[in-house]
């Protein structure tokens, strides 16, 4: 009975051990279309901003190897102990209950590991939180259940628009269900974009995985974050805080283009969205 169990235990443990390297190589997710989730993806998306790359490095180079090692180490110890100190192998239990040097070691080593993690982690944190001098500022407002964008007048904007999900029935080939929107928000590539985030009703959260950006949109507060997209492309995000029944249906699309194209778009949008954004103003006034 016990023998069978030991075998089962070992076999189960081996199966689990085989699973852990799967997280190990998760960082090496296949290079696919950037800016959107990868089907069956195992790891972080391809990052296109300095903060995103920093996050990717922190996770893939520091956190992931360390936690995988710890998991395998504990698993290895458990398997060894079960194998070596089961009833058959070791009928007489020892009376060992203290070993001060050992206890000091297993307190100190985790402290050192945590200190080691904290250095790159805190450096990245400062980079995320301290917004550098920005050339473009966008105001993003969360609503139940869509996002509104405003581009300020003094930077060539002076218009605002709502970004709503395209319903499944209107999707063109190549467009993504639940992710494609009617109005994309454009930003110039390789420039620092500051994003001011707030909400008109309940809490939402603005998040774009490829940027390493996630920031809550809270009524009565103006949160700030930033990104600098280093590669032209279309980047998808979603709402990351539960906000009611259509929480899953308010995607974010940011298209990074060259400065020239961005300027053209600004000029076009000024015409296109002239007089728009009224809904946002009414909603704000009604509160």
């Amino acid at each position: 009975m016990v023998y069978v169990n030991r075998q089962m235990l070992t076999r189960g443990a081996l199966a689990a051990a085989a699973g852990i390297p799967a997280i190990l190589c998760a960082g090496a997710a296949l290079a696919q279309a950037e800016g959107q989730p990868v089907p069956g993806g195992l790891g972080l998306p391809n990052m296109v901003t300095p903060v995103g790359l920093g996050t990717q490095q922190l996770y893939n180079m520091v956190l992931m190897p360390i936690i995988s090692f710890i998991a395998l180490f504990v698993l290895g110890l458990l398997i060894y102990v079960c194998y070596r100190f089961n009833e058959q192998a070791n009928p007489i239990p020892s009376k060992l209950t203290h070993n001060t040097p050992l206890e000091i070691i297993w307190t100190l080593i985790p402290v050192l590991i945590l200190l080691f993690i904290s250095v790159p982690s805190l450096r990245l944190l400062a980079e995320q939180v301290e917004v550098p001098e920005a050339s473009v500022t966008i105001k993003v407002t969360g609503n139940q259940w869509y996002w509104s964008y405003k581009y300020p007048e003094d930077q060539g904007g002076g218009f605002g628009f709502d970004q709503m999900m395209k319903p499944e029935s209107e999707l063109q080939p190549g467009e993504l269900r639940l992710l494609t929107v009617d109005n994309e928000a454009l930003v110039p590539v390789n420039e620092v974009i500051a994003v001011h985030i707030t909400s008109n009703d309940v809490i939402h959260a603005f998040g774009v995985p490829s940027f390493g950006v996630r920031m809550d949109a809270i009524p009565g507060r103006l949160n700030q974050t930033w990104f600098k997209v280093e590669k032209e492309g279309v980047y998808y995000g979603q709402c990351y805080f539960i906000c009611g029944k259509d929480h899953a249906y308010m995607p974010i699309v940011i298209r990074a283009v060259s400065r020239e194209k961005y300027n053209e778009w600004l000029a076009e949008s000024k015409q296109k969205f002239a007089g728009a954004g009224a809904r946002v103003r009414i909603a704000a006034a009604s509160r």
Binding site: M1, N5, L9, G12, I23, A26, P37, V38, P39, G41, L44, P45, T55, L58, L63, I66, A71, V74, L75, L77, L78, V81, C82, N90, S94, K95, L96, T97, L102, E103, T107, P110, V111, L114, S118, S121, L124, L125, V129, E130, L178, L179, D201, I203, P209, G212, R214, D216, P219, G220, R221, Q238, C239, Y240, F241, I242, C243, K245, H247, A248
Partner: protein
């Protein structure tokens, strides 16, 4: 080590009087375990509904469920279904924490075994114990009713997650009375836990048998003591927090409304000041159980007893000063985020001490792989898995990639759905012979273990991948790229469901076969006082107090 004398049962109420008006710690403990089982089964059924929905992209079953459960109009069924999904995630969280884990671990095992383990005849305040239990029953009824009364306009139930953040939970998001039902349920559950905590602290401080010093108490008693202090400290904060929400909703105050000078973040700080210690409230009794089980089946005293006891105390203290690591994305100052990152990471140290001490307890032992031990070994592994992803999430910088995503879901289910539940099962199989007097079937118990172990790992491990890929949590529908791992995750629910069925069969089988367990079915490793009593223990135990000499562990 200890001797006990038990006299024949006197004043032994029967039937309705025994259970409805019970003041006996063992009967109340049993009631708590039954209540926790009901809460757990309902919570499990809710999660089954969610995983069925998420098995494929698109919205499949919830519109139909909304028509069936809430009588939604077919023309409104899609919206009602989306709302019902959110109600499910909310009630699933509330039930599993407040009405499954806490009742069974603290109310059930705590009530049953804390008095016995310290050599006391009963809890200090038996009638308080009774009201604690029935308050919790009332709270459960209110929580379940909330699913069927109006919440968001035209919808039924409150669907804003178990954290109830305003403005979604205030009149802006949920004008209907569903949220008021939830708030009152929390008030009652909170009062129940506060009274229970007072009872435990008084019992442990005043009713230990002669010779049972604090440093001789079994680690399970230590774990309940620390838990009781945490409950007593943080539940009043929750009560204040939701009371302000109640007055915001009904009496025109503006605590959380920016339009009136309030701040929604105030709620989040208060809620997590309760909420983070709460996760330790759920897991600490589990730590205590694992210590007892590992020591019993390794036939060795716990390695580093004092370190283990004070690791729990320090986890309790540290766990109370790290609450804002749930709020890294709300726009806190850089220094606040630095502090909460470092303080949170420090918790890994005492947690590591516990993991290594359990392994060191097994080291040199003579381990018998009985069912409780198998659950305990499973616990050590899955809890380590949950712990290491916790170290990742402790970093405010990395958390910005994972916040409110499936990586977080995987993390806390590894610590709770796997960790706390495995500890709960370890405790259940460890003490079932003592509580019922009958032995369970070893084969069935192990089938139960392997089904759940395989099942929950299939359910939750792929959710790490979903989180890394960026899938947000609390979504009824997801972009098609996330389909594969969602399907794998839902597939795992088959095993989880089977394991639950097997567990019920274990209980039925034990009561039908009536294999007598005897006072101590575990042999020389079981040294705590409950094994000196017959199984089941007499209605009143220790009419002559046991005297403890040497280490009580």
């Amino acid at each position: 080590m200890a001797s006990s004398t038990t006299a024949g049962a006197h004043d032994h109420p029967r039937g309705l009087r025994r259970f409805l008006f019970s003041t006996n710690h063992k009967d109340i403990g049993t009631l708590y375990i039954i209540l926790g089982t009901i809460g757990g089964v309902v919570g499990f059924l809710l999660s089954l509904g969610m995983r069925l929905e998420l098995a494929y992209p698109g919205v499949q079953i919830f519109p139909g469920l909304a028509e069936l459960l809430q009588g939604a109009d077919p023309s409104m069924a899609l919206d009602a279904g989306k709302n019902l999904y959110n109600v499910f995630i909310t009630v699933h969280g509330v039930l599993m924490i407040f009405f499954m884990a806490m009742p069974i671990l603290i109310g059930g095992f705590g009530n049953w075994f804390v008095p016995i383990m310290i050599g006391a005849p009963d809890m200090a305040f038996p009638r308080l114990n009774n009201i604690s239990f029935w308050l919790l029953v009332s709270a459960l009824v209110l929580a379940v009713i909330s699913m069927f009364v109006e919440g968001a306009p035209g919808m039924r139930g409150f669907g804003g997650g178990w954290t109830f953040y305003p403005p979604l939970s205030s009149n802006t998001g949920t004008p209907g009375p569903a949220m008021d039902f939830v708030i009152l349920a929390l008030h009652l559950a909170g009062a129940s836990s506060i009274l229970g905590a007072i009872n435990f602290i008084t019992t442990i401080f005043n009713m230990r048998a002669p010779g049972m010093t604090l440093h001789r108490m079994p680690l399970f008693v230590w774990s309940i003591l620390v838990t009781a202090f945490l409950l007593l400290l943080v539940l009043p904060v929750l009560a204040g927090c939701v009371t302000m929400l109640l007055t915001d909703r009904n009496f025109g105050t503006m605590f959380y409304d920016p339009a009136g000078g309030g701040d929604p973040l105030l709620f989040q700080h208060l809620l997590w000041f309760f909420g983070h210690p709460e996760v330790y409230i759920v897991i600490l009794p589990g730590f205590g159980i694992i210590s007892q089980v590992v020591s019993t089946f390794s036939k060795k005293p716990v390695f580093g007893y004092l370190g283990m006891a004070y690791a729990m105390v320090s986890i309790g203290v540290l766990g109370s000063i790290v609450w804002a690591h749930h709020m890294y994305t709300v726009g806190m100052s850089l220094n606040a985020q630095r502090y909460f990152t470092l303080a949170t990471m420090v918790i890994a140290v005492p947690t590591g001490i516990k993991i290594f001490s359990w392994i060191a307890t097994m080291w040199g032992g003579s381990i018998s792989f009985r069912a409780p031990m198998v659950w305990a070994i499973g616990f050590i592994f899955v809890f380590t898995m949950g712990g290491i992803t916790g170290v990742v999430l402790a970093n405010a910088s990395a958390d910005k990639q994972f916040h409110e995503g499936y990586y977080v879901v995987a993390h806390f289910h590894y610590t709770l759905s796997l960790g706390a539940v495995f500890a709960l099962y370890a405790g259940f199989y460890y003490w079932f012979p003592k509580m019922s007097g009958y032995m369970y079937s070893e084969t069935l118990a192990k089938a139960n273990f392997w089904l759940l172990f395989i099942g929950v790992n299939i359910v939750f491990f792929p959710q790490h991948f979903l989180g890394l890929g960026g899938m947000p949590r609390r979504y009824i529908d997801y972009p098609d790229a996330y389909a594969l791992w969602n399907m794998v995750s839902s597939f795992g629910m088959i095993f989880v469901t089977l394991s639950l069925i097997v567990w019920f069969y274990v209980i039925i089988d034990a009561f039908m076969k009536k294999r007598l367990a005897g006072a101590n079915p575990w042999g020389v490793g079981a040294t705590t006082l409950e094994w000196t009593l017959p199984s089941p223990p007499p209605f009143h135990q220790f009419q002559v107090l046991p005297r403890i000499s040497g280490s009580g562990r």
